[in-house]
């Protein structure tokens, strides 16, 4: 028994050595059904894909890093003429565009209270099942018919958001085919110095990326009315 184990170990060792020295010949010997297990695209990798991580570093020193969102634009999912953004639109964390497929539809501009708009994204899930959620919120002072009419346009309508950071960077949240969902709440406050405000939130889940940036060349048409 012991000699059988020794001989088997030697045979496996010889096989591995042959795989490194003459991979093509060994590949021809191994049945095709076992190829994926034994051979990776870069040669013999024994069933595991070649992975590499890249360096991740903090923002460079001597540069501003201001929190908060400066501007927020929304477009209804129904206004898109094609799926956007898809994985092919995004390269290295950015959308080069140069066009957003929404025809002559204008993005709605949300004029929120200063210092109340934020966006978030979080990746979660087990290995092999990970996905990213996008969300955001902002507040609007007041409660009047014009504001309610604007909110009602988001009732049972999904959308895509473009948030502009204070350094001008624009990021896209949601997609037209899995749009953000909108939720809102209003509060009259109980006394004069309470905040009579509308709290507006949006969230979407199941994306394969954190909000990508929009290249400077991408032009967005905004509504002024």
């Amino acid at each position: 028994m012991k000699s059988f184990r020794i001989i088997s170990s030697c045979l496996v060792g010889l096989f591995l050595l042959a795989s490194v020295l003459a991979p093509a010949e060994v590949q021809a010997f191994v049945p095709p059904s076992a190829h994926d297990f034994f051979f990776g695209p870069e040669g013999v990798t024994m069933g595991m894909a070649t992975v590499s991580l890249t360096n991740l570093k903090r923002k460079d020193r001597q540069l501003a890093n201001l929190g908060g969102i400066a501007k927020l634009y929304l477009l209804a999912a129904s206004d898109f003429t094609a799926d956007w953004p898809t994985a092919t639109d995004i390269a290295a964390g950015a959308i080069a565009g140069p066009t957003i497929p929404c025809g002559a539809k204008n993005w709605a501009v949300l004029t929120f209270d200063i210092g109340t708009c934020r966006i978030k994204s979080e990746r979660k899930g087990k290995l092999g099942y990970q996905n990213v959620g996008h969300s955001g919120e902002c507040k609007f002072a007041g409660y009047d018919a014009t504001q309610i009419t604007a909110l009602e346009k988001t009732f049972n309508e999904g959308g895509v958001a473009i948030a502009v950071y204070k350094d001008g960077t624009r990021v896209v949240l949601g997609t037209s085919y899995e749009p953000l969902e909108f939720e809102d709440s209003t509060d009259s406050g109980a006394k004069a110095d309470d905040q009579l405000a509308i709290d507006f939130k949006f969230k979407g889940d199941g994306y394969a990326w954190h909000p990508p940036t929009l290249a400077p060349a991408v032009t967005v048409a905004l509504s002024t009315t």
Binding site: P98, T99, I100, G103, A104, N106, G168, A215, P216, A217, V218, T219, V220, A221, L222, S223, T224, T225
Partner: protein, 59 residues
């Protein structure tokens, strides 16, 4: 070449990109309209109009 904002959009649309934010109306400079017309989005809101022909000089 001269450019003009389409009448149905004049004063109602602002185009924004990495270069800045530009309101489209009668007072938008020609240079800005020309630059925006180069984009696909710009062509939806801006028309190319014929430059006025100079009146013939009479002696």
């Amino acid at each position: 070449m001269k450019y003009a904002v389409k009448s149905e959009f004049s004063g109602k649309v602002k185009l924004e990109n990495g270069s800045g934010s530009f309101l489209l109306d009668e007072s938008t400079p020609q240079a800005v309209l020309a630059k925006l017309y180069e984009t696909e989005v710009g062509k939806l809101y801006i028309d190319q109009v014929a430059a006025p022909v100079a009146a013939p000089q009479t002696k």
